[in-house]
């Protein structure tokens, strides 16, 4: 664009990592219009803004469309087993506090097959940013009902509509001991999506962000009422939460000043039925992280290991008589 190469390089050095540095070497293969594309863009922007060294950043996922996420990042990625992203991420983090850990998980991955891990991960409160891509359907396996599919959704396993009310990931999360960060974002409000993920990243602990994610392929009109009518959205703002730009404020007129320290109100907001809340529902920075709780101030060196082994052997040793 007419800038000399040397200047370009200088600019690069000054800025450090650019967006490109976080792009994986294969382009995303999600469907056109898939909400996952927007989530990827927000995360890449975050990495750039925070200048996260790609080699110290790990993206862990399960299996699903959304779990392809790590493939599209330039960082360490772990695309593992359906439902098991969280325990893998915990194992990564436990002894490597130097790594920034992100998790991408789907509604099936997190709330169905991985539900036990989800509950316990909240309780462990390990420092990681968890993005739950909730398209309310199983995408990868081609349209089966998920635990978050609204009642009545027709899918390949529920051709006459789902039978049960959906599980509410926000209320569930807010009900677990040691919960420390719960937020909700929508892929169609990218500005807020970025702000919320950024807040999640900055929170030390298990930051759970449920992202309402459009799946044009299998749920083409699922979120239409909310996309088309901003008044059906409730934006949570607070000095301790996210603040809205003037532009956003104009479009999304339904707002609530919600203090993320207010667990009781957070639970009420989580259970709203007509309106979709977007923002930070809950934050408690004082909940201890499991990796810190389990950190022992002992070196793991050959000398220390030898010392403990010898002490233990002593307890079980029969010495030859002199």
């Amino acid at each position: 664009m007419g800038i000399p190469v040397s200047e370009c390089l200088l600019k690069l050095m000054a800025e450090g990592y650019t967006l490109d540095d976080y792009r994986g070497d294969i382009p995303p293969r999600w469907c056109t219009g898939c909400g996952d594309n927007g989530i990827l863009a927000a995360v890449q922007r975050l990495c750039r803004d925070e200048q996260l060294p790609p080699e110290r950043t790990v993206f862990v996922s399960g299996i699903g469309c959304s779990s392809r996420f790590p493939h599209y990042m330039n960082a360490y990625g772990f695309h593992g087993l359906h439902g098991r992203a969280l325990p893998v991420a915990e194992g990564v983090k436990l002894r490597r506090p130097d790594l920034h850990v992100f998790v991408s998980t789907g509604d099936g991955d997190c709330c169905s097959i991985g539900a036990a891990h989800w509950i316990h991960a909240i309780r462990y409160n390990m420092d990681m940013t968890v993005l739950m891509h909730d398209n309310q359907i199983y995408g990868l396996t081609k349209k089966q009902a998920s635990p978050t599919s609204p009642r009545g959704v027709k899918s390949n396993t529920t051709p006459r509509g789902t039978y049960l009310d959906p599980l509410n990931p926000l209320s569930v999360t807010l009900g677990v001991a040691n919960v420390s960060f719960v937020a909700q974002a929508a892929d169609w409000i990218p500005e807020l999506l970025y702000d919320i993920i950024s807040e999640a990243y900055h929170h030390k602990g298990f930051s759970f962000v449920r992202i309402l994610q459009r799946c044009p392929e299998f749920m083409p009109h699922q979120f239409d009422p909310w996309v088309q009518n901003p008044d059906k959205m409730l934006l949570l703002t607070h000095e301790k939460g996210v603040q809205l730009s003037a532009g956003l404020s104009k479009v999304y007129r339904k707002q609530e000043a919600h203090d993320p320290g207010d667990l009781h109100r957070a639970r009420e907001i989580a259970s709203l039925s007509e309106q979709i809340p977007v923002g930070i529902l809950y934050r408690d920075s004082d909940v201890p992280c499991y990796e810190d709780v389990r950190m022992v101030d002992r070196l793991h060196t050959p000398d220390v290991i030898k010392g403990v082994l010898e002490e233990e052997f002593d307890k079980f040793t029969i010495w030859p008589s002199e």
Binding site: G24, D25, I26, P53, P54, E55, R56, V58, V60, I63, P70, H71, M73, A75, Y76, G77, F78, H79, G80, L81, R84, P87, V88, A89, E90, G91, V92, L94, R95, R96, D98, L99, A116, H117, I119, H120, R294, V296, D297, R298, L299, H300, P302, V304, I305, K306, V308, L309, E310, E311, E312, F313, D314, K315, F316, T317, I318, W319, P320, S321
Partner: protein
């Protein structure tokens, strides 16, 4: 401090303990107890004896048995102890199924297994005794020491039952001695349920001519976390039992011992396993409680933090396995310890580790299966699920520990293999190794056991994470934190760049390389040595905890002139080279395994339908040799005598 206490009885301490002895509880004066007694009894010299102590659970027979074994070991005897464990925590009192205790094989020489039926049994009630009798654990005509309080029990049913069992056993030729355990013990403790065991230890010290001072040392060690009062009381009970036997029993044996020249460790297999984890340099153990594996993690939880490491009790086995994989992926090679049902849950994760070439150590302390099966009992039923239990083609190393000592070293070796080959290594032990105790030479710490510090240096630009070496199948391992090493690991079929492979050739290549890696590892294996002659009429092949019993059976058969040898496998997958040649030099080859196999004893079990034991199946498939098999699933280690019988049936 422990070292000293164990090494040499410290006279000062002993004396102090004596002085501090509370006099009030004793109704007899020390002088009286040490009063004149009959001329010293002539001890019958034995090569070995199997001793059982059984009680209701909670009466301390296990502690008594372990202490007895430890004292014998301190004297320099060969020992092997086996726990007798009821399946429930609190089974009803005086029940046949509730027998809890310990079996101790004491010998002049080193022993490698629990031996055959018991030569002497101490029973706290006639019901637990009956349990052992029915389980055919008593040698015909053996010596029985039976608590006599039940004879006069106010409950007529109990008294009748006692008298009935007593009469029957005597009629059958058992030498039953009624011992007033309770009435002797109440002289010292208000609740004899909590003291009889040390009284019995005293009895046994007298009967087997064990050094009472060593028994005192043992008691001080066992109760080291309790206060002095408790120790003194137990010392008193020990002496009371000893003196009572000296005065009232005319059974006296001596099993000559020879003090080992080097320090020996006495511990069970799970303790050895836990220490092996610590010595291997692994930093993380992720587990979920399951019998009989859990006690290894209990002990590890107790000591692991002292070297800065973590035992993580996950929410289930699936999570435990995934957690371990995550830690290993991040450069901190991890172990997950479980038993059969837990292994099944871990299989999907194991498949992922194989596919993505993450080092991982999985320990399966086998128990009776399938399903919940026999949680506290020994069986070797998981061999095939360890080798092939996952989905798809998942080459991994499967090895088995065959002694207590081996439980220690196997984990160290497993970690090494796992990290050298970026592979899953399964270590199989079982309930019998987990709880059995046997002395082994105290290991000399070796820095080579430990994992090297993780590599965080930059990866050469352009290097690919799965750059499989065409000769060995080995690929580098890029650990998060290494600049230029960024890639997305995946459980999907992938190419050298770890990109999802849509090309059928690439899938074929990946699978080939993972198989090649196992073959490369196979080339490092040495053929095991044959126990006995290199040729003969029959070769027994075994794996895991049956080693001692098989080799003892072979010795007996050979002493009888039979041309029988044995071969014991440490590596089950892959197997070392050279085995087929060994098989050729024998007329028959059979496996002995503590697992089910059809024997042709029914019309419908025939060659067409016969299901072989795991190792037999593997050997038949690999070597095209007509390998026979024999085994049992009675929830306990196979006895050498039974192996002898099974082999004799197969010899010309």
């Amino acid at each position: 401090m422990d070292r000293q206490t164990l090494k040499e009885p410290r006279q000062e301490q002993v004396r102090r303990a004596r002085v501090a002895k509370p006099k009030a509880v004793s109704t007899r004066k020390t002088g009286q107890r040490r009063g004149p007694r009959a001329a010293p009894k002539q001890a019958v010299t034995l090569k070995e004896h199997v001793v059982e102590i059984v009680s209701d659970s909670g009466e301390g027979a296990q502690r008594c048995g372990q202490s007895f074994g430890s004292v014998a070991a301190r004297m320099g005897n060969g020992i092997w102890t086996v726990e007798i464990i009821p399946a429930e925590i609190q089974p009803p009192a005086r029940s046949i199924a509730g027998a809890s205790g310990n079996r101790i094989r004491v010998a002049s020489e080193r022993v490698t297994n629990g031996g055959d039926e018991a030569d002497l049994v101490v029973a706290f009630n006639e019901q637990v005794l009956l349990g052992r009798y029915r389980a055919k654990e008593l040698k015909p005509g053996c010596v029985i020491l039976l608590e006599d309080k039940w004879r006069t029990d106010p409950d007529a049913d109990i008294a009748v039952s006692y008298a009935h069992v007593y009469d029957e056993l005597v009629a059958e030729g058992y030498k039953v001695h009624e011992i007033p355990m309770e009435s002797e013990c109440v002289k010292y403790v208000p609740d004899p349920r909590r003291g009889k065991n040390m009284f019995v230890l005293g009895l046994l010290c007298s009967i087997y001519s064990l050094d009472l001072e060593m028994a005192r040392e043992q008691i001080r060690f066992v109760f080291r976390k309790k206060d002095a009062k408790v120790i003194d009381l137990n010392l008193e009970l020990l002496e009371a039992g000893h003196d009572w036997a000296e005065e009232n029993l005319d059974i006296k044996y001596a099993i000559p011992a020879s003090k080992p020249k080097d320090p020996q460790i006495v511990m069970n297999g799970n303790t050895a396993l836990a220490l092996g984890v610590l010595a291997s340099g692994m930093e993380v153990c992720a587990m979920y409680p399951i019998t009989p594996a859990t006690s290894a993690s209990h002990y590890l939880s107790d000591i692991f933090e002292r070297v800065g490491c973590v035992v993580h009790q996950a929410e289930d086995e699936i999570a435990a396995c995934a957690f371990a994989i995550g830690a290993s992926y991040a450069g901190k090679c991890a172990v997950t310890i479980t038993s059969g049902p837990g292994l099944s849950l871990k299989q999907e994760g194991i498949g992922l580790a194989v596919m993505s070439e993450i080092p991982l150590v999985v320990v399966d302390v086998q128990r009776g299966g399938p399903s919940t099966g026999q949680p506290t009992k020994a069986e070797q039923g998981d061999l095939l699920s360890a080798c092939f239990g996952g989905h798809g083609d998942a080459p991994k190393v499967v090895m088995a520990a065959s002694t207590i000592e081996d439980c220690f070293y196997s984990v160290i070796m497993a970690r090494k293999i796992a990290e050298t080959f970026n592979m899953v290594v399964m270590v199989l032990t079982d309930a019998s190794l987990a709880t059995a105790q046997q002395p082994f030479p105290r290991p000399d710490f070796n820095e080579q056991w430990l994992a090297p510090p993780i590599d965080q240096s930059a990866v050469p630009e352009g290097a690919s994470p799965y750059d499989w070496d065409p000769r060995t199948g080995l690929a580098p391992r890029f650990i998060p934190g290494q600049p230029n090493g960024m890639h997305c690991l995946t459980g999907l079929a992938h190419d050298r760049l770890s990109h999802v492979a849509y090309d059928p050739e690439i899938n074929q290549e990946g699978i080939r390389n993972r198989s090649l890696k196992l073959a490369t590892f196979q080339k490092t294996l040495k053929a095991p040595a044959i126990f006995g002659d290199e040729d003969g009429d029959l070769l027994i092949v075994g794996w895991g905890s049956t080693k001692g019993a098989i080799e003892e059976a072979v010795e007996r058969l050979r002493a009888d002139g039979k041309r029988v040898s044995s071969l014991h496998l440490k590596f089950l997958q892959p197997m070392p080279s050279g085995m087929k040649d060994m098989f050729r030099r024998f007329d028959k080859v059979m496996t002995v395994e503590n697992t089910w196999s059809d024997s042709l004893d029914s019309e419908v079990f025939d060659e067409d339908s016969r299901r072989y034991a795991g190792l037999a199946l593997l050997l038949r498939a690999r070597f095209l040799v007509d390998v026979d098999c024999w085994g049992e699933v009675k929830g306990q280690s196979i006895k050498p005598g039974k192996i002898v019988r099974a082999v004799l049936e197969r010899l010309p």
